[in-house]
Symmetry: C2
Subunit: 309 residues, 2 copies
């Protein structure tokens, strides 16, 4: 088990990020050794290792540690770091499935998981069979990341009371993010001028999932009461909305070299973002028609995207 | 919370099945009310309700109750029934993703989840967009079933000691079944005469997942020691293999009216079953060539299937 210095400072986020990364690496190494001992394929743990250890900002784990610190840092830091690591494993699950549903080509500047497994299966199979294999592998590796995020939590060494405080927040977080993803799927391809509908998706997919719940989980580990949890909510929700609105802007106007994502994906998928809703509201009828024609076109190129912008 | 008569007999499997079904219905009703209160779509809980409450044999929940009973029935029955219900919710997750990966059209005599959601999205969208929506919805509804299987376990009212005994078996079960699914995906489309390779998939996908682990989970709830857990394994693994071999036979020779599944799916997907491995071993070179040409053909019809048989 990775050791954490007793005097480690939870406010030192660079050091906390290092500890969380080390815990994830250690967990996946153990899984890789078990798989090898049973002659099971190694590419599952290798893929999750590549995904988790390179390029992630570890925003949710760091917010979890911060929530614990803000609520009084009661109990040891080591179990908190492992709960934080379990949030990053959960996030890997969410991104792997999200990239498949959006058929995104890149994530963090590298090919997405379903694309990597499609490419592995190309030799000797039809294009259709390779894509089918890639999708299936991404579904299963995502599923495994979700199950392993649980295992990290189960083996964190939490006191029974801590576990009882944490689980309701975890259950709520998962339900919220999955309903948010479903709303996103439901509204994709239907650009709308309805800012409220777009904000509802933002609240479920980002504000609660990325900001509020990680803070709640950390605070609950320190035994936070309703007042502290409420303060976390008041801080997290507006910040989470701002974070997503910025992400939507970067998704269209950002440089792929900086974001690691194509500037075309959001437009091709016709994501019902607040940005698009406001653009449709401000557009003349002719401009709105042109926007609707360009957004959601899977063959949208750089020229069309420049036209949208 | 559903009440369970204090004198309920855990060996009365018909009554146990009724209790597990009632717990699942109650859980999903509560989720449906929460979704309605937040103006979230109702089709997610409706779909899981249809999937879980009609037509399942509830084999894994009943084995869980049986394992608890066999290990001495220590502690209350009510929490055991809820853990049993969580296994059925987990199984819904596994089947929904499995049907999507295999692109199966029917399950339990009804359209599969991805097909239902594809059909819902047909009006006003291209066929490609509708299939994309159906796949995304099935991924998310499966994910939610996995998260909710956890929530059922978390809220079962287990003693901390019970929870600590149960979680390692749960974590092992999930990892095993997902590796089994991956092996299945990896070998699909490559009919092989290798019986051992086919049996490895059977062990992970069925013998351990369907038989051994549900018994272990129930036995662990009653505080079973290594000897009792070992006896569960000795009973479960050969029975699980026999169960899958029978299922493979039914998959090719069974009547769709009885199995609720098409008799063509396994052949079209070229599942690397023990049945196919033995057929290839027994075939003459010309027969083996003909088998390999027919198996895995997505357009295989009844005539070709009869030819295989």
């Amino acid at each position: 088990m990775a050791s954490v210095a007793l005097d480690a400072d939870p406010a030192d986020l660079v050091s906390m990020r290092g500890h969380v990364t080390a815990l994830l690496a250690e967990f996946l190494d153990r899984k890789a050794r078990t798989a090898a001992a049973h002659e099971l394929p190694s590419e599952i743990t290798e893929t999750l290792r590549d995904f988790l250890l390179f390029g992630g900002k570890l925003l949710r784990p760091l917010l979890c540690v911060t929530g614990w610190h803000a609520a009084g840092s009661n109990g040891g830091l080591r179990p908190v770091l492992q709960v934080a690591a379990s949030l990053e494993m959960f996030h890997a699950f969410a991104l792997i499935h999200d990239d498949l549903m959006d058929d995104s080509a890149t994530r963090r500047g590298r090919p997405t998981v379903h694309r990597v497994f499609t490419a592995r299966h190309t030799g000797g199979h039809s294009e259709r069979a390779a894509a089918h294999f890639g999708a299936g592998a991404a579904i299963l590796i995502g599923d495994l990341a979700l199950a392993w995020s649980d295992e990290l939590l189960h083996t964190a060494g939490l006191a029974p009371r801590q576990l009882a405080c944490v689980l309701p927040h975890l259950d709520a977080m998962r339900t919220e993010v999955m309903y948010g993803q479903y709303l996103d799927l439901l509204t994709a391809g239907r650009p709308t001028a309805d800012v409220d509908a777009a904000l509802t998706v933002v609240r479920y997919k980002t504000a609660k999932y990325t900001l509020e719940r990680p803070l709640h989980l950390g605070a609950a580990l320190a035994g936070a009461d309703r007042t502290v949890l409420g303060a976390c909510t008041d801080y997290a929700l507006p910040l989470g909305e701002a974070y997503q609105l910025r992400d939507d802007l970067l998704g269209v106007f950002g440089s792929p070299a900086q974001t690691g994502k194509s500037a075309l994906d959001d437009l091709r998928d016709a994501k019902a973002t607040v940005l698009i809703a406001l653009a449709l509201q401000a557009a003349s009828p002719a401009q709105a028609d042109r926007l609707r024609a360009l957004i959601g076109n899977p063959r949208l190129g750089e020229d069309g995207a420049t036209d949208v912008a």
